[in-house]
Structures are given as C-alpha cells and as structure tokens.
Symmetry: C2
C-alpha cells in the first residue's frame, strides 16, 4: 500500500537552509551543501565534483563555482584559500564562528580548528583596523601523526 503523496514534503536540513535564504532549492545546491555538511575537512572543487559524479548528479565546473559562491554569499559555507592557491569550502558561515584552520603537509587536507578563534588576541600597530583575522597552521595533522608512529 503506497503512502499518499506528502502535501508538504520533508526537506533535508540542507534544503531548508537553502529555502530560508530565499534562493531556489535545486538539486545541485542541496547536493553540494550536503556534501559539505557531511565532510569533516574542507573540500576543493575537485573533491566536490567527484562526490557529485559519484551520486550521478549532473553538473559542470561553472555551475559548481557559482553554486559555491552563492553558498558563501548566503553564509551557508565558508572558504579557505589553501597553500596550492585553490579554494576549499566547508559548510557553515565564517562570520558567525570565526576559527583557525590546519593544513596538513602530509595528506594535503585542510581542517577546521573550531576551538581556536584567531581574533582579538593580538594588538596591532596604531591605525590598523582589522575586521577579521585568518589563521592557518601548517604541519602534520593528528591522523597522519598517528599513522607514522606519533613521535610526540
């Protein structure tokens, strides 16, 4: 016995966020936001494109760029520029919760350090008016350190 069509279909959390932003709820947007939400690390375009392809979703490079820009604009995702000068994305706004990032030189991943706030710990020379601070550590991440015998 088939269920009756739901009058107000249950949206995923991602879809709800997108709808709340006033934009159209499209397959690409929901899929991209969900990919970001389900990842512990920040993802670059290739990572995301690969995820979309794995799910059989139609997409192209340009749409992905525009979708990600839109998500950042709406505060649904934030962007880090990695050392390879490629952008990486992660779900969640930046302004609401500023935090540091960690770039692992072994595995290349960029992780969020939610516990570290880069702002308001430094005194700048007179005249400088900082609006936000970006703090990126480079080194070996916990996973890679463990994998090779945690020398600490």
């Amino acid at each position: 016995m088939p269920l009756p069509a739901m009058p107000t279909p249950l949206l995923t959390p991602a879809a709800n966020l997108i709808a709340a932003s006033g934009g159209r709820v499209t397959r690409t947007r929901t899929a991209v936001l969900e990919v970001l939400q389900h990842s512990a690390r920040s993802l670059n375009h290739d990572d995301i494109a690969a995820e979309l392809a794995a799910n059989g979703l139609p997409h192209d490079r340009v749409t992905l760029y525009r979708t990600l820009d839109w998500l950042v604009e709406q505060g649904l995702a934030h962007r880090v520029i990695g050392p390879d000068r490629a952008r990486r994305f992660k779900a969640g706004g930046e302004i609401s919760s500023p935090h540091a990032h960690f770039h692992c030189e072994r595995c290349g991943h960029v992780l969020c350090l939610e516990s570290i706030r880069p702002d308001e710990r430094f005194t700048l020379p007179a005249g400088y008016e900082p609006e936000r601070a970006e703090l990126v550590f480079h080194g070996t991440c916990a996973d890679c350190g463990r994998r090779r015998g945690a020398k600490a």
Copy 2:
C-alpha cells in the same frame, strides 16, 4: 679626469646577499631583490614586473617567477598568498623572523606586521603538530584609515 676602474667593484647589499647564497649575481636577481628591499609592502608579479620595466631591464614572466622562487628558496625573500590567490613577495626570510601580515581591503596592499609573531600563542588539539603558522588580518590599513578621517 676619469676615475680608474675599480679592481674589486663595490656590490650593493642585494648583490652581496646573492653572491653569499652561492648563486650567480645577475642583473635580474639583483634588480628584483632591490625592488623588494625598497618596498614597505609585499609586491605581486605585476608590481615587480612594472618596476623592472620602469628601469629598462630585460625580463620575462617566466624568469621573474623563477627568480622569485630562487630568492625564497635561498631565504632572501618570503611569500604570502593574497586573498586574490596571487603570490606576493617581500625581502627577508620567513623562517628567521616569522610575522603576521595585514591585507588592506581598501587599497589592496599586503603589509608585514613584523611586531606580531603568529606562533606559540595557541594550543592546538591533541595530535596536531604545527611547524609554522600563518596569520593574516583583513581590514583597513593605517594609511587608508587616515585618508578617510580616522574614525577611531
């Protein structure tokens, strides 16, 4: 009465540094290093190329890239990746004196904050082994703040 040709020509500080690194002292290298040394802010490729052109020096894009990479490798210059994902360079090594940077969103310049050391002020989660930290402030620099009436 012309001066006699100097037997051991006096080298500029830049040329001396280059010679001390074991590399050949070429026009491009000395010129690029001098441009960097004379600038208070970090310069991108275009800035440097414009300076070289103004001095009538022969150069091309690729040589400039290689020259800058070499200077960084020798510890004679350091590199910052700007928000426009383009590299910016400044004289002086990074390892010897790690410091924060300030990106002015008004004039686009990236300045060095020699007085601020980004390292050893944060406690990272267990397992993370940072080797260096990168700290970039975004906001309004002293010059631009003054120019519009220093609201602070």
